[in-house]
Symmetry: D2
Subunit: 402 residues, 4 copies
């Protein structure tokens, strides 16, 4: 009996084809469907109104690129069995299931467990239901599988995850500077000594990929207004916990959010995982709407600002901010909002945003030359790439109310 | 003092320019920002995962097309004062503010006041705040203004509202069949005897526009799975009210949704309008999530099906369904769900979906010929358009659980 | 030894992959490379400046769609051997090699042998060189091969030839009305009883395809200015032969064009075929440039008008032109150009342009329903398609100098 | 009497609007129409089959961007009179009229006068015909006009010429790496102290622009196969002149090409200019086709190789080639082609390709900061740009027959 076959319209790639029963099972699972209710780009839609796409959509897109990658590698002679093909596709579909609401904005705040760990636990939980059908997918995801390149396709400097999120995020935000030549990169992939590499003639596409990523960081992911919104969200969380610790009983939302806000101790288990899988952007958005009416000024003010997009003012610069300027802004805020010292730091604060184009120490993009030598892209003699990609760029910000 | 100037990235049109203080004021208003929290295409994202764009985004897009339309008409000699320009832009920005959650799916169910009426009341409310700055915008919106073509740009067979929603909905759903040549249509617009018309050489673009709209109806807006999801949503509403009438106290969501579910009598006033402007997709989505755990089987089952995308089966055909088939499906459902006759109609039911390409009786697309004669597009001697566009197409559907 | 592998950038589809030695041999052959020097859209670039793409580019595009079609059909269980795959790709690559310069404009004028016949002879000639490697490709091209659907992919109502030329011509001309959903159509193709069909859910894509084709005809292929330019080209040819018959010796261009202008008797053979394969748009364009300086007024005037885009005026209408109007234009031209009755018809003339959307008598687009019934698209009960597609649309034109 | 109004379809920008009589006159002029017959990218179509667009198309595109630039600058308060607007548009339309056939490939070979000089003479010649209507356009083109920024829009580091050719060349070649955010750059332009600058928040778009240009150089303009084809073309020219100097009479093509091949002494005057304006790609392509049959082996071999795309092999590397390797290739070629020492250098030769991303010494891209300070982009403290853009990249190539 042949597998069902279905096509899904995708504005980015045209059509995504599903043609395997296990893949269908994964797509239909509530743990996967939950990703419909988690924005891919958290609060970036406050600056880029089109950036409302979901993690489900991104996961489908990464799956599509994986289909293409498998086809390309096979056409070049790399052996990938049918079982491995399904496993690596399952792994990429599930790689983001561990994302909570408004991650990355809230990732280390609301739950404080790396999303990859939760993704793994979700896979393991599904694997039980599916009688071990995800065994190989889990081995690939955790880099236990002997064909390393399969893991690298799921998670590495050039994985289909990054290729899809750059492509998709630039598509939906309308930031053309983030467009990468994903199809060309896929055609340049090759496997050498069991590892994923890029053919020599793909060097410029990789260069483009790294520059596009840099541009997306500074223009979108770390856009100052997006940053300001995320900081407000974090402050809301902080204030809610502070009030709760002081005995406030009016913060209850009536959903599993309450558990993660007030009870969760950082330890995952089956019961907690089940709660986690009920959590999504809707709960937290609902809570924010509700808290707009809360009696605490700080909480209702912050929530109203997010809801109505009346964000804090933010400045970004390459030098730390002068203490005098910070001091003046604190004083202004205290007067304007009529609050005391202990609360003003919810509205006036400083911090740093850092982005590194390419970390030479951990992950590598290896280029395979025609003579079979392999070089890391950062060691290739070309003025644009090698001098610049490994030094981090740090910027300083200040948020305030005016 | 010059107006501020801001550009907004839009994946559909590139950049949208805002350069007027009144327009900024409207954009920043909570009544407008609320549209961020209302999906443009209700539940269509369950079939088209990219179709998660918002009514705010659509309103910005329609505003952008209005900017272009004003420029084009002026370039052809049509007089449009600066005041009229701002007014017609304000009108298009605000034309959809009256949409409630999951409209059109819930439009006549949750609130039962046409969204245009509410939009008008919202404009009037904002107009008070703004000391009459929206007077002319309201006159244009209500077709009181003497230059009829301004109203026709906001609301008519060829208004920028339709041009944007077809363009945007096909863009985000990835359904290329719905692409229209909006830029060419805009360049073909002209004003004759005070009315909006299309130049003769724009006939094929109009034909394309009408065919694209037809395609979007059958492929997207009335897609059978979208239809099935909407019917479930309506049944949820029906069940909630039924349970409430029977004295169930566990349906309260803690938001203004409660008011519109259980108290609203169809009469709008300032207080009700204020409540309405707190309402959005988040509340209703939250309620659905909550009701998944409700003790009533029908309610929790319907809610869970929407949440996890385990929709009802649906068939569409051009003939009514045979009574025997309906009967059999009813019996099957009763057995399978273990429910009695009075409840099975929540899961098995029939209905009709109708779409007319072009209603000759009410609105018209007038073509201006080079010799200054004017003809309605449906009367032009061309086999594709005139024979087909005014007859409605009706399809019959049946929903069931298997 | 594995086949070489090469990718070609294509702005329409992204990348086209070549991975077979026979396909490489065909691409490298001078008979195929000659298609670089034949415009796909003849003189349409005089209206659409981007429409300068070549028949080589179109052939590559059709080959790419054939690759996709083969993959899709195989994924649905249709048996296609590797040999058949190469053969059907070879056939589509070579299907247009018989096009001469500025065809279709000059097709029946310069050579008067259908281009399909010449394509076949070119294939046969290459087949000799290649020791029979094109046998199966020729059988498919001539519909001798037992799997009819392979021929239908090369030449039929829904062949990849049409899919590519509509897609490519609308892309390069910038006429968005001609965009078809080629990728969706490909995914809807299926083979039933050995014939190519479309799955039921592809009906709207086919409707879109037929409407897009109609739009391309009237907006592009039969655009009045394109028509006027083609008629001038035909008149140049006519005048050249007339002058030659009167003994003019100054018409020689020094290329094989001379042979086809003055000697060819309509009979193809090996020697003529060789000459044909030297012929391209460059020769004829060069001749036109040269004849701009010819002493005959009619010839130099027509050539100069093409060269400098000073075309004849043209009007298109659905009724034949009034004799009085024609007469007046003839008189005006005689006076203005100072020529006599025998020559004025080179500058003032009438004719007809006809287009049929779908010819029910010859070719068919069959729809395969879920219950395995098959219907021609024109018999399906839907108001847009069935009433309109089989009646031809005829328009009348008049060309003149003012 | 209002100006005529016409729109031209452009696949890159959608529609280009012409709405001024002088602009119409320029477009209709044979000197401008001639650019239809000059490829924008010379022989690049041998690698990128879509890259067959013309200099006319590019000129129209640059004109379109100029329209947008004028609108943007005016919206920011820069004074541009209507006369200046028409003048700067005329200047950009005519800026490339001095390009000869297959420039840049043949620029210094066939004519050896910079194309800008010829463009200027063509403008001056047209200006006489037009009774001085191009006076201001010429002043802007030659940087005599007091508003420097108008000249900078026509010719500078960030002129609309570059913006269009990068955009258009990447579009038609299908090389997505060359896509720039032209619309965002245009929106970031500003005039400060009479000079064209970029607003601070446009820095990343400029970075993208510079990187995209670099990518286009190495992937397209200096693509090794394109380079090989251009070198063959140059060698054809060299051989033709050599044979002519030796008394060969069979090289005559019968067109003005003969004059520029054999008689032109580098001095332009009215008569020579007239000849130049008859010259285009067709003449030279025709000559190459003709010379395929010439009795000289070197000439016919080189011409046949271009015609049939049987190019020389080429290698590119960052080090000069070893003398031994060169020597061996020379010997191989002599044997294989059976030619002597004096001729083998037509087939085996070495050279260098150089590209600099940003020349700090001559032209500058100035960034205007919010505090009104101005900095050259290469001096801004950011690791990607400042370290890399001013050092030229040099590569060495060797061409041979095997």
């Amino acid at each position: 009996m042949p597998n069902k076959r279905k096509i899904i319209n995708d504005p980015v790639y045209g059509f995504i084809t599903i043609n395997n029963d296990l893949i269908f099972t994964i797509l239909s699972h509530p743990f996967f469907q939950r990703l419909r209710r988690v924005h891919q780009m958290a609060l970036a839609y406050l600056v880029y109104p089109g950036a409302v796409h979901t993690r489900l959509h991104h996961s489908l897109g990464a799956y599509h690129l994986m289909c293409n990658a498998v086809n390309e590698l096979r056409a070049k002679g790399t052996q990938i069995t049918e079982e491995e093909e399904i496993a690596v596709k399952a792994a990429i579909l599930l790689h983001d299931t561990g994302h909570g609401p408004f991650s990355h904005a809230l990732e280390n705040q609301l739950i404080n467990v790396p999303h990859e760990n939760i993704s793994l636990q979700i896979m393991q939980s599904m694997n039980k239901e599916l009688n071990g059908q995800l065994n190989m997918a889990i081995d690939i995801f955790t880099n236990q599988y002997h064909k390393k390149f399969l893991h690298q396709l799921v998670s590495g400097q050039l994985d289909v995850d990054r290729m899809d999120y750059l492509t998709r995020d630039s598509f939906f935000s309308g930031v053309s500077e983030g467009v990468i030549g994903y199809d060309r990169i896929l055609k340049m992939l090759t496997v050498h000594n069991g590892e994923l590499m890029v053919e020599e003639k793909g060097i410029y596409s990789i260069e483009k990929f790294l520059v596009a990523r840099r541009q997306m960081y500074w223009q979108v992911y770390l856009h100052k207004t997006v940053l300001a919104a995320e900081k407000i969200l974090i402050n809301i969380l902080k204030r809610v916990r502070e009030l709760h610790n002081n005995g406030d009983k009016n913060l209850i939302t009536g959903t599993v959010t309450d558990y993660f806000l007030f009870e969760f101790n950082g330890k995952m288990n089956e019961a907690v995982l089940k709660k986690f899988c009920e959590l999504d952007d809707i709960d937290f958005s609902f809570a924010v709407k509700k808290w707009c009416h809360h009696s605490d000024f700080v909480l209702s003010e912050l929530c109203t600002r997010i809801l109505n997009r009346e964000l804090l003012k933010i400045k970004l610069q390459s030098e730390p901010f002068d203490e005098k300027i910070i001091h003046q802004k604190l004083i202004d805020a205290k007067v304007q909002l009529n609050i005391d010292d202990s609360l003003v730091s919810y509205f006036v604060f400083t911090g740093e945003a850092v982005n590194t184009l390419y970390r030479t120490e951990d992950e590598r993009i290896n280029i395979l030359f025609k003579d079979n030598t392999v070089k890391d892209i950062s060691t290739i003699d070309d003025p644009l790439i090698h001098q610049t990609i490994s030094s981090p760029v740090k910027k300083f910000y200040i948020c305030s109310i005016s």
